[in-house]
Every structure is written in structure tokens, then in C-alpha cells.
Amino acid sequence: MADEQQTIEKSAKDDRQVVLSVRDLTVGFGDKIVLDNLNLDIYRGEILGFVGASGTGKSVLMRTVLRLLPHRSGAIEILGANYEKASDEERIALDTRLGVLFQHGALFSALTVKENIQLPMREYLDLPQSLMDELAYVKLEMVGLPPDAADKYPSELSGGMIKRAALARALALDPDLVFLDEPTSGLDPIGAADFDALIAKLRDTLGLTVYMVTHDLDSLFSVCDRIAVLGQKRVLVEGTLQDMFEFDDPWVQSYFRGKRARTVVTNENQPPADAGPTDAGK
């Protein structure tokens, strides 16, 4: 598994197992088409960073993939199964292999952190309570929360702790594919860097595949294997950071070569291929 991940970066696309495939997806509300014939592939073991201007439908895409929103046409295949054609048993099996970190955590407010983490375990696994307690503490430790957070209610946690607790819940069943909606927003830079490192570590140890909607340039540059840009109702471009620098679109150019991006890139010692006057195109 480890070798597989290391070769992912530059290997031919055909070798890799597609975990999530979206084909010709169209989503709209009323007269308004939000996503038009969108195509997207995510491969096993990669961290895909998803960016796009506010209001371009990043959240709509994620919610459609998770079947929280209906789509008008197109096909979504998750972990090799088409959800619409799957039987009830297959759907449940599929649900246990997905983990979702919602933007605001979406922890159940009536349950403690520990109970939140144990909820999926309790429903799907046949494990004794003592082991579930231990596993809950293990997950807390993995996401960097102190053990005394276990018995707190979500309303007693800080924003960063809520993010971590929600990640712990998303990882409760050791899913194959994890969706993260702006995981580092609202965290301090050190906390955000820790969070990125944590996600990279989990990917390496658990073989996770990560779909990450983010605006954090640090995350994009440090942990994402590939980046996809949503714009004009479809995926404008997907590929490595290098592809982003070379892609000719005003928004993409100003996003990845703007002032903020340049600072980050210089710090990462990855100067853009042909840095020029870049704030063009607003």
C-alpha cells in the first residue's frame, strides 16, 4: 500500500484505482444551473484539494456526491458502486465506508464528544462498550484532542476542537473516502498546519482517500497531491500545482500566483515556473 501511494504522484492515470468518479453531472435549482456536465475523478490514496470562488458550487458538488442534493443527470460512482442502482444493503455498506467532516462540524449537540464518535460504531459494529471507549480515546488522541474532551458537549468546545472532534467522528469507522469541507478554516495557522499534517499522516497510515474543499493555500501547497478548480459550472482544471501555474485562466492565475500565494510558495521553496507580473486579471 505504501509503495502504491509513493508512486501516485506522477504515475500514469490508468494504473490508479478510481475511488470516486463523477460523469456528466448536472445540478440545478429551478431555472438556475449550478453544475453543468461536470466530470471528476479521485484516485485511491490521494488528497484532492478542491478550490473555486465563493458561490461556484463547491458545497453543492460535495452535497450532491453525498446524495444530500438531487441531480438532474449524470452518474456518480463511489468506491465502484453506483448509489442509485445499489440495493439497500449495498447502500449501508457504502455509507460505512464514507466519512464526512462538515464545515461547522455538525456534531450532535445532545451527545458528548465520546458519544458522537461512538454513534456510528454502536450502529454498525459489534464491539463491547469497553473497546468502543478505548477506540474513542484512540481517535481523540489521533486527531490531537486531550482525553478530557471526551465527556464534553459540543457547545463547550472551541471552534478548533469542534473541527477535530468532527474529524474523529468522520474517522470512527475507518472509512476509505473522507470528505472534508474547509477543515482548516477558523483554525490558527499552527493548528491548521497540524491539521494538514494529521490528514497526511492518516492518509499514509490508513490509506485514506481525501476529498478536501479548502481555501487554505498552505493546505493546498503542503498536503494536496492534486488540485481541482471549480469554475464556470464545471471543473476548470485538475492536476498538480505545476498545472495550476501553467493554466491560462484569470481566476486560476490570480488565485495561485496572487500576492498571498506567492508568499506561501516562496516559503515552501517552490517558486512558480515562470514568475512574472501576476496580479493580472484581478
Binding site: 500500500m1 505504501a2 455498506a93 460505512t96 449537540s109 445532545a110 460504531m121 454498525y124 459494529l125 459489534d126 464491539l127 463491547p128 469497553s130 473497546l131 471507549d133 478505548e134 477506540l135 480515546y137 484512540v138 481517535k139 488522541e141 489521533m142 482525553p147 458537549y153 459540543p154 457547545s155 463547550e156 474517522l171 469507522l173 475507518d174 499522516k201 499514509d204 497510515t205 490508513l206 490509506g207
Partner: protein, 380 residues
């Protein structure tokens, strides 16, 4: 789901000690099969080093890795040297990423309080709660009266648009249900009264019965109870969810008094709407009673009206109507107090909405009883 369950076997090593051979899927849905064996191995009193052979593991996740980690920790705790072998690197990395131990579950705290304390603490708490509820209610009443004017001269104290919106929501839209309910109540009272009065040949007095009962007591009481359930719960839910999402705090830092902005218009609207609804309810009930009197006892509308004219006077109407604004205030204040007490969880919102309705109905009935005593004392 694969049925490749996790297994563990032990074999002796030539130089003393044991080797645990792990096979199968060590994933969260397949490890439950191995838990019993694992417990035995964890307690086994063998000596010498322990080698854990991972080569037979086909799949693993944190649950499996944690079980292995726990086994290693237990063996090291016995003073035996534990090592891993045969892994492919990833498994070792995963196991290494886990903590060595988890905190022991806290022992359930023993209830050290004496019998006396345990019996008398809840009622004592209840008394304090009632007291603090009363203070909160007075605070809201005071802030509502005073707070609306704390706007540094910016416009009028009350925003008329807000009051009108709330009158529409709490008053106008409640008309159909209030009319229907009062019509039926009037009809039922008339029918029951006529049935009993028939024995005395005094069926005509059913008009007195319905008129006085409806105007003095039932009309305002049932309307207030209906509004407590309908609008009191809505006020608590609105204010409670605004509290949960820090909207109340936002109002405060903008420099607006949340009670003046949110609660005062609702109180004003309720105080206007409830008396008006009571009038509608009274008409509906008297109309229902008139129809039953005609059909059941053969009392014509003319007879009904002339008898009603003799039975009731201004005091009957006034004594009922005076209660309405007080009940409206009580409903609004109780709902606001409960709304402001909502905490961070959805559960607490539900609890306080329930408490709001129960307390508001209780307050309405209490007010009705106090007025009854008061009226009889002053012979009204």
C-alpha cells in the same frame, strides 16, 4: 463485508517465549471474533519475550491496530519484551501512531450525600429556580417597558412594522382555529346545560349559563391556553434558536437591547391580539350556543337574544376582557424567559419550549383563579 475474520494463535519459540501469529482481516467489523482469545493471551502468565507476527494480516484499520497495540502494552507491562515482525511497514507505522494506553474509564462517582440532602435538594433547587424565573420575568418586563426607549432618540421606541407583523402571525392567523374551537365549546356547553336544565323545565336558562360562563371565564381562558400553545411555543423557539446561534449576542454588541428589539414587539402584539381574539371567541361561542339552543331546545334566535340581553350586562363582558391583557403578558414573558434560558444543544431547545407551554398555561389558569377571587371580593 468480507467474512475473513481475525484470528490469533500462539506458538512457542525455540529460545523461550512465544510468538503470536495474527491472520485474517483486522478491521473493525471483523475483529469482534478475536476479542475473547485476545483477552486470554493478554492475561496468560507465560514468560520470555513475545513476538507478534503480522504477516498473515490481510487488512487492518485503527481498531485492529489498537488491539495489537494494547496487547503489546500489556506484555511490556508484565516485563516481557514485545516486538512486531512480518509487517509491511504500513502496519507498524499505524500501530506506532496510536497511543500506548487510553485513560481508564472514570469510576462512577459514589453519591456521598446523606439521605436528608438527597430528599430535600430537589425541592430546594425547585424553589430557587422559581425564584430566579420570577426575577428573570421581572427583568424582561422591566426591560421591555424601559428598553424600547433606549435608542438615543433614533426614531420611535416601538417599531410599528414589527408589532403589526407579530399581530398578523399571532392574532390574525389564529382566528380560524379560535373560531372553530369556541364555536364547538359554546355548542357543547349549551347542549350539556340544556340537557340538565330540562329536568327542571328551565331550558331557557341555558342562555344565561352559556352567556355568563363564556363571557366571564371560558372565552378568555381557552383562547389564552390556545395562544400559549400556539404563539408561546413559537416565541420560545425563535428566541431560543437565536440565542443558540449568538444572534442575541450580536444584537447586544450592536448596541441594541435584545429584549427591547425582540421581546417588546411580541409582548405588545400579544397584548393587542389576545383581547381581540377573545372577542371573536365570545361571538363564535354564543353563535354555537344559539344554534344548539334552536336545534336541541327549540329556543328561537329572537328569544335567545332577548334572554341574553337580560342575563348579561357590561360587567360580564368587562370582567372577562380585563383578564386578557394580563394573560397575554404572562404568556409572552414566560415564553421569553424560557427562550433566554436555552443553552447550546438542540435538546435544551426542546426542553425549554415544552417548559414554556406548560408554565404559560399554568400561569394563565393561576391568573384566572386570582381574578375570580378578586371579583368575588369586590362583588364585581
Amino acid at each position: 463485508m468480507s467474512s475473513n475474520l481475525a484470528k490469533i494463535n500462539s506458538e512457542a519459540l525455540p529460545d523461550g517465549g512465544e510468538r503470536y501469529v495474527l491472520t485474517g482481516d483486522w478491521r473493525n467489523h471483523s475483529v469482534s471474533a478475536v476479542l475473547k482469545d485476545l483477552d486470554q493471551f493478554q492475561k496468560s502468565g507465560e514468560q520470555g519475550k513475545v513476538e507478534i507476527d503480522l504477516s498473515g494480516i490481510s487488512a487492518i484499520d485503527t481498531a485492529g491496530a489498537w488491539l495489537i497495540r494494547r496487547l503489546m502494552t500489556a506484555k511490556s507491562g508484565e516485563g516481557r519484551e514485545a516486538s512486531l515482525s512480518g509487517g509491511n511497514g504500513t502496519i507498524e507505522e499505524l500501530i506506532g501512531a496510536l497511543p500506548e494506553t487510553t485513560p481508564a474509564p472514570p469510576a462512577p462517582a459514589a453519591d456521598k450525600r446523606s439521605f436528608f440532602e438527597r430528599v430535600f435538594t430537589p425541592p430546594g433547587k425547585l424553589v430557587y429556580e422559581v425564584g430566579s424565573d420570577f426575577y428573570a420575568a421581572m427583568n424582561i418586563l422591566g426591560s421591555a417597558v424601559r428598553g424600547a426607549q433606549l435608542k438615543f432618540g433614533r426614531g420611535a421606541g416601538v417599531s410599528p412594522a414589527s408589532v403589526v407583523t407579530h399581530i398578523d402571525r399571532m392574532g390574525v392567523r389564529a382566528v380560524p382555529i379560535i373560531v372553530l374551537m369556541s364555536f364547538l365549546i359554546g355548542a357543547i356547553i349549551a347542549q350539556q346545560g340544556a340537557f340538565q336544565l330540562r329536568y327542571f323545565g328551565a331550558e331557557i336558562f341555558v342562555v344565561d349559563l352559556v352567556g355568563i360562563l363564556q363571557l366571564r371565564e371560558i372565552g378568555v381562558l381557552l383562547t389564552a391556553i390556545m395562544i400559549a400553545g400556539r404563539s408561546g411555543s413559537a416565541i420560545t423557539a425563535e428566541i431560543g434558536s437565536m440565542k443558540m446561534r449568538e444572534e442575541i449576542d450580536a444584537l447586544t454588541v450592536i448596541g441594541l437591547n435584545p429584549i427591547g428589539v425582540l421581546i417588546f414587539p411580541r409582548l405588545v402584539a400579544l397584548t393587542i391580539a389576545l383581547p381581540l381574539l377573545t372577542i371573536i371567541a365570545n361571538f363564535a361561542a354564543l353563535y354555537g350556543a344559539a344554534i344548539v339552543a334552536l336545534l336541541y331546545s327549540g329556543i328561537t334566535f329572537d328569544t335567545y337574544l332577548s334572554r341574553l340581553h337580560e342575563a348579561i350586562d357590561h360587567t360580564s363582558i368587562a370582567s372577562g376582557m380585563i383578564k386578557a391583557p394580563f394573560m397575554a403578558l404572562a404568556i409572552g414573558i414566560v415564553a421569553a424567559v424560557e427562550g433566554m434560558k436555552v443553552g447550546g444543544s438542540a435538546e435544551s431547545l426542546g426542553q425549554h419550549v415544552t417548559a414554556s407551554v406548560v408554565k404559560a398555561i399554568f400561569a394563565v389558569i393561576l391568573i384566572d383563579a386570582l381574578f375570580a377571587i378578586f371579583y368575588s371580593a369586590i362583588d364585581f
